[in-house]
Symmetry: C2
Subunit: 241 residues, 2 copies
DNA sequence: CCAAAAGTGTTTACAGTACACCCATGG
DNA sequence: CCATGGGTGTACTGTAAACACTTTTGG
């Protein structure tokens, strides 16, 4: 049996359905930092397979949309969060038996969203009949439920990549609001990396990287010296020495 | 129109064909170092689209094979080279218009093969009727023909990744034969990076990385001092400080 | 003995890390 | 005046980079 498509010299004779195709999905590990923890957005599955289990949001790619578009659409549809501030393709998981329904190849992404201080809504917590997702919520990555499919592996890959990328780029911008204090920035780093950093060295490195600019504004929130507010100069990740 | 699949509580009622699917291909940029140049394996397309143009080897993924398996199969089928010594998934290219036939999502890989000294055969240079590839050959990456589809973009991505990975891992093992001299190893680095390295610093770094072991053998090939032969201690890429 | 590639150390510069105190504010 | 978090500089250490001569062989 030959599974290659029929192809002729004449384009009009090309038959796109000459052989069986796998299904293609996108899945996304969407991260945020809230309440001192790194959290990932999961949805509770309402239907077979893995009904009742938690999974990464995702779904089938439509014929007329790019992969990135599909990811943003699924995020909004299944969880109600605003579009991600940063989105990066991670890896494509395509092992033959990874989905019990049929052959499914999943293009995995990870996404970053600002924390709840930014007024980011987490809507869609009531089950919706007729869609795959019954419920959506943020889970701290250090106390996760067991996940459907190979989503634990996807999430582990995403975490590794996020932690690595935080070290040599400015992606952290996507986890913060427009203006922030250096302490808030450092806290985001510490939450994601899972260990604490030296304040003087952190500030020195960040300011030397020329990715931040100071504003004339300050944040006052207690019986202590006010903190200067900073802003990222670019809303895209740039390499940091 | 709803493109989601029908899903029920009962697995037997799941219909994998309830909506239209994209096609999925794998494409691979297979590199080797030969005649002092970094070369990539290209095939000349025999059929529409881009008939007569050069392209990365690749093809449609079968329902019963993993992605890595599909890549190795296509490499052998289309070019006749032995299975790659190293294979790594690169990125998945899925823009809507990237293939004029139909919606095609391509999972791109890059591969590394040892140079011609290893006796590696490059068979399959005669056109084969009935398959996509009419001819296969190695092309130096600094003098490429124009490529079909978005393969120039894929190749550029592969090159960037290969160069980066060479710097902090031991992947170079896949471009060399079992035993080699330190000068041969350095030459591979220089060919891929495109600039020359300091001999003393290179040797110091390689030996300090503890990824090599000396053999009692030497290579003699001319009117000069013989060179000691070395071997990689692991046949998988490991991190180098 | 000559040509050709193998092999070998030291110095310098920079980046990362460790570390402790004064400052501005609200209550 | 005191509690709280904001803000600052220096010394050390290890890694990367620059740099030139001796050794072994074949012809």
């Amino acid at each position: 049996m030959d599974t290659k498509p029929q192809s002729q010299d004449n384009p009009s004779q090309y038959n796109a359905d000459a052989f069986a195709k796998p299904s293609v999905t996108v899945d996304v590990a969407a991260f945020t930092a809230r309440e001192g923890k790194l959290c990932v957005l999961l949805v509770k599955r309402g239907v077979w397979p893995f009904a009742g289990a938690w999974a990464l949001p995702g779904g089938f790619v439509r014929l007329d949309e790019d992969l990135d578009t599909a990811v943003q659409r699924e995020l909004v549809e299944e969880t109600g969060v605003a579009a991600a501030h940063y989105l990066e393709q991670l890896y494509t998981f395509g092992a033959v038996g990874r989905d019990p329904r049929t052959r499914v190849i999943s293009v995995a992404y990870y996404a970053l969203l600002p924390g709840p201080e930014s007024g980011l809504p987490l809507a869609a917590s009531e089950p919706e009949a007729g869609t795959d997702a019954a419920e959506a919520r943020w889970w701290p990555v250090d106390s996760l439920p067991s996940l459907a499919f190979d989503h634990a592996e996807i999430l582990a890959t995403a975490l590794t990549r996020l932690r690595a990328k935080l070290g040599y780029t400015s992606v952290a911008y996507a986890l913060l609001t427009e203006e922030f204090t250096l302490t808030e920035l450092q806290t985001v780093y510490e939450i994601i990396l899972g260990y604490s950093l030296d304040k003087r060295n952190f500030r020195k490195k960040m300011l030397a990287a020329e990715i931040l600019e100071g504003t004339p504004r300050q944040k006052r929130d207690g019986a202590h010296r006010p903190a200067q507010l900073f802003r990222f100069t670019k809303k895209e990740p740039v390499f940091m020495g």
